[in-house]
Symmetry: C2
Subunit: 457 residues, 2 copies
């Protein structure tokens, strides 16, 4: 559905909801995909969510819808369900989706629901998944109990698949295990369909299977799937037993999520990505204020540095005019370097052992840009501020300052994400307040030190 | 392969290349996946690429390798091939990959190669694809000539698939067409495998097929695939004839590319994402200088505004000390708002018809943050700058300035990407130099206007 069509459809649903036009609504909802209904929820006020939700039939579709809502909607919406009702819906969804919802619930509610689960319950798989960190392969996998021995023929494997088809959500590959249950091979579904039935799996399987461990970070899993163009990757435990698969549709979500997270962290708004009217302005502001605090502290540092050079400004008032451009250009080039390094790390384009070459390069690029803009600013001073005392020295001072500030900024911007990565902190965090703040302070310092030296203040 | 293992493997290959240890190299390369060999190229100097490339056997693997190299490597590497050699490699790769390479070549070389292609050539499909913009569905699709009539049974369809298996690269879905060749249905491969062979396709196919047009933007294609969890999406021409499919592995690349592009544009480095030593420092600097130019022009505007208030600074020199923090906090909050809106648009979370609600919200959040930091800064002035003339007025002036600057910045940051989107310019571009520059200038203006009014300058 196009954006415009979706917007119209949403408006219609909102209007019908207000009028309680249940029959019309049911008819519209029946014709829509659950993914599109999930998008409509963004336009509906929280007080009407339950009404809309209950018009979706049958239970399986409601379960699918619940798992497809944006997390910002899921979290408040889950509060509108009783535990038993929620458990019933979770039983009807795939176990990784159910586990995601359990993670979103407050701990005591999650425990209460998990306590209701008996060993043969459909929900027991989801409970199993709760053992894993939600941002690892274990946390995003679908448990898989289906694998076949290498001695099986293609024909037998197809029959086996057919008999299991109800439990298998998405089948892309057939995994082959040895007598100990260790993962030893893989066949694509296409291989099965296009091979004569009497051939043994051992003869057509790929035995060098790309796999990830349950504790592999989801970003790494995404890199593996992207690099090798896989549709699914098997997840093994520490003894190489196949425990699940991560499918490509979940990987797409991971890639989008991680990119969003990185962008928001770089801008210092990691906790506030909800542009709807649902979220109170004040709660958005509260989420952003701590990040701005780092910049504020840096700004205060700047204030005290500048006021300690107050005598210099009193002597040459025009010095104040060139400070913002110096700090600003430093900030810009610092952000450029930091962004390149952060994204290079995220895409696996920067390799271990080449880190310092990257920093050296960023520094040189920063200095090169700094020289260009230093010359430009120096010329502008000579032309427009020639009536000042000793204009040549002023031009030299201002030009050198901007070059220094940009060189320092590119170096800091290139280095910080690498240091953060070493310390196992997400490098994207570095690019936000940390780089800008330190670049601001260093720029202001460089500016006044150079002015003091060259203008003899 | 883990990052450390890959780094070791790369070092070994680089060493063996220097020693011309051909036999050892061939053995290592044979055991590696082409995706991993492609990653090794990042560590090898351009002068050794051809040597390494030719050790990979047979031709099909070399073709795969060539299509998997980073575009920054492909572009210079393609210069090392003769046209005939390149055409031969392109014939051995899938047509969408070959078309990508043709797009990378200088126009005259691409034309020369295309002129060599005869109608029954393997390359003719790739040439066909060159008609489409490379960033649309047509540009990233694989042409598809395989579709079956609705009256076919499941068993016949499987036989048909088996007979076509060599030409079909990745099969996920079987597309069903009517007598006019119009796309009317789709079955998953799983449906085929798990349905009795005598059932007709018409009985199991989904007739509401999600499709895209050849000129649909690749970002929109990615959104469709992500939203509906598809493995492939059919591409139709203006007459609803099936002309190709876009597969999920290409979508993953699109999502990563688009996120990278957005991040680089936001930082103002869209043209420079190559951290290797291959690219000369100067050519990197040259790519960044135009973007920094926008910030520089804004900075110059700032200089002239500040110097026109020189008298004010000469009267109260400490005014200069509070300017950078005011401008800086504005810049930070402006970037936050712009990032949220840009990412919201990219993910399709901001819907048509709700744009101005989003701007209003960002403004309010900016003002809320501004009031908090305005109060904080005012207090700091009272405590640390109490010895100045009329400290209360100074505190009030500085506090109001930062509130105004942050409110304005959030409004501008929220609005610009939406305006750019309306004008069909990528909103990510807005977040870079445009937002920061206008926010800087508006912040400086607000600062001095408020100071003039409150301090009676």
């Amino acid at each position: 559905m196009t954006a415009q069509l979706m917007a119209d459809r949403s408006s219609t649903i909102v209007r019908l909801l207000r009028r309680n036009a249940t029959r019309n609504l049911s008819k519209i909802l029946e014709s829509m995909r659950t993914e599109d209904i999930a998008a409509v929820f963004r336009r509906v006020v929280a007080g009407r969510w339950k009404q809309l939700f209950e018009l979706v039939q049958p239970l399986e579709r409601r379960a699918e819808l619940l798992s497809e809502l944006d997390p910002e909607i899921q979290e408040p919406f889950l509060q509108q369900f009783a535990n038993a009702e929620l458990a019933q819906l979770m039983r009807a969804m795939s176990s990784d989706d159910a586990a995601d919802l359990l993670h979103l619930l407050p701990e005591e509610r999650a425990s209460a629901i998990m306590a209701m689960v008996k060993p043969d319950d459909d929900l027991s798989e989801a409970v199993e998944l709760m053992r894993y960190d939600p941002e690892t392969a274990g946390g995003i996998m679908v448990p898989l109990n289906f694998a076949v021995p290498a001695a099986m023929t293609v024909g037998e494997a197809i029959l086996e698949l057919q008999s299991q088809s109800e439990q298998l959500e998405m089948v892309f590959y057939l995994y082959v295990v040895n007598d100990h249950g260790h993962l030893v091979g893989v066949c694509s579904l296409r291989d099965l369909v296009t091979t004569p039935p009497e051939i043994q799996l051992a003869d057509i399987m790929e035995s060098n299977v790309i796999r990830v461990a349950t504790d592999t970070d989801q970003e790494e899993v995404a890199r593996v799937v992207a690099r090798y163009n896989l549709l699914a990757v098997p997840v093994v435990d520490e003894t190489n037993h196949l425990v699940g698969i991560v499918t490509v549709d979940d990987i797409i979500d991971v890639i989008r999520e991680e990119a969003t997270e990185d962008m928001l962290k770089m801008a210092g708004v990691a906790e506030d990505f909800d542009v709807s009217e649902r979220k109170a302005v004040w709660s958005s502001a509260r989420a952003r204020i701590p990040w701005l605090g780092a910049a504020f502290l840096g700004g205060l540092g700047g204030i005290f540095i500048i006021s300690s050079f107050q005598a210099a400004i009193e002597t040459i008032a025009v010095l104040a005019a060139f400070l913002p451009i110096t700090v600003g250009m430093g900030g810009n080039v610092g952000t450029q370097s930091a962004t390149i390094v952060v994204r290079g790390l995220a895409l696996g384009r920067i390799e271990v052992g080449r880190l310092w070459a990257v920093v050296r390069r960023e520094s040189l690029v920063g200095i090169a840009c700094g020289v260009v803009y230093g010359l430009a600013l120096g010329l502008i001073v000579l032309v427009f501020f020639g009536s000042q005392q000793s204009p040549v020295r002023l031009a030299l001072s201002v030009g050198c300052s901007i070059t220094a500030a940009m060189g320092i900024a590119a170096t800091v911007g290139g280095t910080m994400p690498l240091i953060f990565q070493r310390l196992n902190i997400d490098p994207a965090v570095a690019t936000g307040p940390f780089v800008t703040t330190s670049v601001d302070i260093l720029g202001i310092l460089a500016y006044f030190i150079i002015a003091t030296l060259l203008l003899g203040l």
